[in-house]
Symmetry: C2
């Protein structure tokens, strides 16, 4: 049976996906029904799954290679934030009939690119038909030394709150899909759109955070929403100083004087930076890590003992609390 | 953000899914971004992913608990066929707006039922919205002693071909969704439909096959198609004797004298029985396994050295080769 593509699932797997499994012996070249994986001695496996859906997590017109890379990267981002080194992934590819072989070829090229970049391997998967949009579900596997995974719940009072890279670019990029404000330079529009379309998980940095971070999460739901996740499990509150939140030049341009846009940046998701807490004594070591990895790391706030339920307060540069209309996206509400 | 359900993803996870992760410490109660899993000393992890899609792998009207259980079971079936003991799974749940909280509650009840039955635990997942049909992707984890996984490629010339349970029930059950032939008893219709809707993976038997099977696969694409997979990797041919293929009483009733229906049984998928090869010397041990597990196991053919490319020949009771119009379903062609 070949479906409307004139090529069977088995042939597609052999042609486009088996090469992606070539260098991982336990994947058996995708010629068996399962894959085998064993962490190195002293390590445990860190697993994560996340799916992206056409029309929800990416515009339906997104090129196939970018869809593939985003699906993989959002999972690698979680592994990185937990201090894990990525190793392998499983792929479920749910495709409407409108997807042709060229699309699949481009999709596989995107995966090949990122496999090279992040040193991960496809080890198994499944293809199915659908009457709906493209769905790509990835389950990613990483390794971490036993007991060294960085959790949400380890933050301590007076820990400093850090974030990598810049925040809000993806939310701004998403908002620009409907049209850019007058005066925003094309280069800025392109930069912000790229940050939304193709996140850069902090895979090179994550494992080094094991030595310093007390808690960590990747910024996927939004800076404040993800800070709240750390607070909830750590049973602490956090104070974020808005003017210390790192913004890209493009984001500053796009925001201008617009207070609502600034608020949107603090609550927007999809940045895939790492938000983490660490004791003040780790500040020098973190500066060194930033230097050696080439990834900016900014101190943006402080953890506080709870008075009442755990809370996140964002202060403006006068020390006044900023009220955010919404604190972040959930997967049921995210729409381009 | 709560979507049209009036309840956020986080609340849904806390209410319906976190209880399913309670007994697996590395799942952190679904309160972190990843889960940790480590096979017991001397074991390796066996991983498998498979997704099912509304309107393709199950009728859109299927009750949510049956969808959940089928999604889990088709994965457990692969683990069983490879000799692995299932331990845990990740879940991607892609849901249209028409799905309400009651649906999700029923879905989770189905998972809870099967977790109890198969001793597996939810350890992580993701929920997303879609404009299309329900998609459920599961990645399942099992354990097997290092080097003991049963592969597709280990069959040897003169090995006997065995299959568990009965074959063709699911294909007949699927064909009956459009209406049952006159004279077929309602109990038979119900039995065959149930076999299609809710497979019973041979989880209790699978790990014991390590001691006897040289190659194995679960029957999901169809008896002949899956036999062909073993042949292709083992570089052997197989001869199947059609009248030794085990049929349920209901299947015999449904087939009657209809040669086409018999052929459909041999090529139909979704039985989730285990098809395996073993040396003739293992016959007694296999009979004991069948007895102790309560699962029928039938010898249905023999492996042969290849003459030309690997092939599967099905013989009728006069020793004549039966030609099958189609040999099995691929995922792109399977439609209820």
């Amino acid at each position: 049976m070949t479906g409307q593509r004139g090529i069977s699932e088995f042939e597609l797997v052999a042609r486009y996906f088996a090469p992606l499994a070539r260098d991982f012996p336990g994947a058996y070249g995708l010629l068996d029904d399962v894959a085998l994986i064993l962490p190195a001695p002293g390590n445990e496996l860190v697993v994560k799954t996340d799916a992206i859906v056409g029309g929800i997590d990416f515009p339906a017109t997104t090129p196939a290679d970018l869809i593939a890379r985003k699906a993989l990267r959002v999972n690698l981002s979680d592994l990185a934030a937990k201090g894990a080194v990525p190793r392998a992934y499983l792929l479920d590819l749910i495709l409407p009939d409108t997807v042709d072989e060229a699309w699949i070829s481009t999709f596989a090229t995107g995966l090949a690119n990122d496999q090279e970049q992040y040193r991960v391997h496809l080890i198994g998967g499944d293809m199915s038909a659908t009457s709906g949009p493209v769905v790509v579900a990835v389950s990613a596997f990483g390794e971490v030394a036993c007991g060294r995974v960085i959790r949400r719940g380890g933050a301590r009072p007076d820990d400093v709150v850090f974030v990598t890279g810049t925040v809000g670019d993806a939310a701004l990029g998403l908002s620009l899909l409907g049209g850019a404000p007058a005066g925003l330079e094309p280069a800025s529009v392109a930069f912000l759109a790229a940050r939304y379309r193709l996140p850069e998980p902090r895979v090179a940095l994550g494992p080094h955070l094991q030595d310093v971070a007390t808690a960590a999460i990747d910024v996927s739901d939004g800076l404040v929403a993800d800070m709240r996740h750390i607070c909830a499990v750590s049973q602490l509150s956090a104070v974020i100083e808005a003017d210390r939140v790192p913004l890209s030049t493009s984001a500053r341009q796009a925001i201008g004087d617009d207070g609502e846009r600034l608020a949107a940046v603090l609550s927007g998701g999809d940045d895939y930076e790492i938000l983490f807490t660490a004791p003040r004594s780790a500040t020098n070591k973190i500066a060194e890590l930033s230097h050696s990895s080439g990834i900016p790391i900014s101190a943006i706030g402080r953890m506080r003992p709870v008075e009442g339920p755990p809370n996140v307060v964002v202060l403006d540069n006068c020390g006044q609390a900023i009220t955010l209309a919404r604190e972040g996206w959930t997967h049921f509400a995210r729409e381009p």
